[in-house]
């Protein structure tokens, strides 16, 4: 272990050389920065993981049934479990995908579920990412570099091998492939996650393609290979819904595939993840996920949400205003750690204005108890410091739903920050699932 820790700098240098970078847009500017790696792993015991795995599979299965229901029969609305407006006022809902069910009723093939471990040793779900959850490549490449620096560490410590991600990914694509090759569709090298796109293509054996490589004819999707056109049966797209097809969504998108949605609706290609998933992973819908699990699966949720209140309900609004200083308030329309406000940090007119916004548009906000989650040790110079950390678990829905026995552990840059989103600075760790 000491051997591994002593290689921190070499590993980071190697990653920089590989181009393991993280890009963000801030104030209209594209910034690229390295995503610092900390060599002290997060360890999850076998018994702890067993519960996590069951709970994650249950949650993702329920979310897939929910999406099938929302774009189909809409029973959960008819039965009054979720108020309609949480669907139809959500920017993630796409009417263009109504009256169509994707292959095998899978919408979220690759789900990134963010959790934290509370000081009570319980895992809490922070959010579901069902659109384009990124980050699997970071622990994958970090693990392989660590393994090179210190092979014994992995031999002696009983760490579950995580090198199967590429296979899981190709199984997931093959399961819904309608006939043809698998493609990873990237907006190109200026995208924040371009490194990951190329890395995952290599790992899964899929072809990495940009929009000039792909076209639609006869409602079928083709890849322009050096040997002529090749049918595409599954597209793992790494661009967001609104840019996906300029004939259906944003007409000014120059990075999309014109005609893709018509081909998809004709059943001639699978899109991974399905467009329209945003309706299931916004912060407002998060509140309802435990109810979905009970409604669709007739099971009790294995993993808990952070205690959440919906100001949409009068009782919850009252509670939110009364306990304002103890709560974190989130704007449901924002992602990536933006739009997150701690009640105690607001004062004066700022506070009054924010409260007025909640009262005026209660549906736009959720409030949550601040979870006191566990710190993880981070190597800092010669010593060790503590930082808040979360875990993004990757759940892949192929012929069955599986959890990748690894994950992305992110830690905050500042000691007092509870926000551990990679868009907000900070770094990452490897996540070891222990075999015992």
């Amino acid at each position: 272990m000491d051997r591994l820790l002593s290689h921190k700098d070499q590993i980071n240098t190697q990653m920089a050389r590989y181009g393991v970078k993280f890009g963000i847009y801030k104030n209209g500017e594209f910034l690229e920065r390295l995503f610092p790696f900390d060599p002290i792993p997060r360890k999850i015991s076998a018994t702890d993981y067993e519960k996590l795995e069951k709970g994650l599979i249950q949650r993702v299965n329920a979310l897939n049934v929910f999406l099938t229901d929302i774009y189909g029969a809409k029973k959960i609305l008819g039965d009054g479990i979720i108020p309609e407006e949480f669907i139809y006022r959500s920017p993630g809902y796409l009417a263009a995908l109504e009256n169509y069910t994707p292959p095998k009723e899978i919408y979220s093939h690759i789900s990134g579920i963010d959790l934290v471990l509370g000081k009570d040793d319980e895992w809490y779900i922070l959010e579901d990412n069902l659109r384009i959850p990124s980050g699997a490549s970071y622990p994958l490449i970090a693990r392989s570099l660590c393994r090179k620096c210190s092979p014994d560490t992995f031999r002696n410590n009983g760490v579950v091998d995580n090198r199967n991600y590429g296979n899981l990914l190709s199984d997931t694509m093959n399961n819904v492939n309608t006939g043809g090759i698998n493609v990873i569709f990237t907006p190109g090298r200026f995208n924040a996650a371009y490194f990951e796109h190329s890395f995952l293509a290599e790992q899964s054996g899929a072809v990495l393609a940009e929009n000039s490589d792909i076209y639609v004819e006869n409602n079928r999707v083709y890849y322009r290979s050096s040997n002529g056109p090749v049918r595409v049966g599954a597209i793992y797209r790494r661009i967001s819904d609104e840019y996906l097809d300029p004939l259906t969504f944003r007409a000014d998108s120059l990075i999309g595939i014109p005609g893709l949605i018509a081909a998809y609706r004709a059943g001639n290609v699978a899109i991974i993840n399905a467009p329209g998933n945003g309706v299931a992973d916004d912060k407002g819908i998060y509140y309802f996920v435990p109810k979905m699990i009970r409604y669709y699966l007739d099971e009790e949720p294995i993993l808990s949400n952070a205690p959440t209140y919906l100001p949409y309900y009068e009782e919850d609004l009252k509670y939110t205003l009364e306990r304002f200083d103890d709560l974190v308030i989130k704007d449901v329309a924002e992602a990536g750690g933006y739009g997150v406000v701690f009640g105690k940090d607001l004062s004066g007119t700022e506070r009054e204005e924010f409260i007025a916004r909640i009262i005026a548009q209660p549906r736009r906000f959720i409030s949550q108890e601040i979870i006191d989650f566990q710190d993880l040790p981070i190597l800092d110079g010669e010593g060790v410091i503590d930082r808040k950390a979360d875990l993004r678990a990757f759940v892949l829905s192929g012929s069955t739903t599986k959890v990748w026995p690894s994950g992305l552990t992110r830690f905050s840059r500042n000691p007092d920050s509870f926000v551990v989103n990679s868009s907000q600075g900070g770094g990452f760790k490897d996540t070891w699932i222990m075999s015992h």
Partner: protein, 265 residues
């Protein structure tokens, strides 16, 4: 029941040659109870590769295709015979999204003030009529005063617009009253340009109301497509390679199929 002959043509000119042109057309009369397509022909120029008909999320027929080779114009023409019979309309459930604002149909405080002063009451259809009547009387029809991106609120503020704006405002105000309302793009007996109106859903049926002309729709109206607002219903969308500006001409004609036959002497 009436039979209508229709033809609809569009020609698009590009200021320079374009290639790799992918497009989507949404201009085929709907084939639904009450509006049966008896016959239809559709031609394109230049030759389209891989054109396919399918349906969008709202159930509208769409045609997607590509023109790969260099071209400086594109034309498409649809013609045929439609049988209209409103008594054939069938019970249907409305998509819940028709009750909530879309990008171009958000209401605002100004509209709320008007709704309060109108004191709309009665059935949803009664309320919708009151709203349509208000729009018809207070809005000025002025081509060129708005564009396809103009929202209901913007047109309402300016008090002028075209059929599309009249429809958007009516939809926005209906939704503020909790009424299911949708945008219809279509053609009507006569010649010239396409038209747009509103349908309001009550007790399982859609009722057509035309706020621009201030009337209910009748069997002289042919629906091409429906959606939440204009964004769901553009007749054509395309994307191509080439630095060209495009201009477009649309011509439609709808007439009764049977000319009056001379009475036997």
């Amino acid at each position: 029941m009436i039979k209508l002959k229709f033809s609809y043509e569009t020609s698009i000119r590009f200021s320079d040659d374009v290639t790799n042109h992918a497009f989507l057309l949404r201009c085929f009369p709907m084939d639904i109870p009450g509006q049966k397509v008896e016959s239809m022909t559709h031609t394109n120029y230049p030759i389209v590769t891989g054109g396919q008909y399918s349906k969008d999320g709202f159930g509208n027929v769409i045609y997607t295709g590509r023109i790969d080779r260099s071209h400086s114009s594109m034309e498409y023409k649809i013609s045929g015979v439609i049988v209209r019979d409103d008594s054939e309309a069938e019970y249907e459930k409305a998509m819940p999204c028709y009750k909530y604002p879309s990008e171009l149909t958000y209401g605002n405080g100004q509209m709320q003030v008007v709704l309060d002063s109108l004191r709309v009451h009665g059935s949803d259809i009664d309320k919708a009529h009151r709203i349509a009547d208000y729009i018809n009387k207070t809005m000025e029809y002025m081509p060129g005063s708005t564009n396809v991106a103009t929202t209901a609120a913007e047109a309402f503020g300016e008090k002028k617009g075209v059929c599309q704006d009249f429809a958007h405002i009516m939809i926005a105000m209906c939704k503020m009253e909790g009424i299911y309302a949708r945008y219809v793009s279509g053609i009507t007996v006569g010649e010239g340009e396409t038209h747009a109106w509103v349908e309001v859903w009550q007790d399982g049926y859609w009722y057509g109301i035309d706020p621009t002309r201030g009337c209910d729709t009748d069997e002289t109206y042919i629906k091409l497509c429906v959606g939440r607002d204009y964004n769901d219903c553009p007749v054509e969308r395309g994307i191509f390679n080439g630095n060209a500006l495009q201009s477009q001409e649309v011509f439609m004609k709808v007439s009764y199929e049977k000319e009056e036959e001379p009475m036997p002497a």
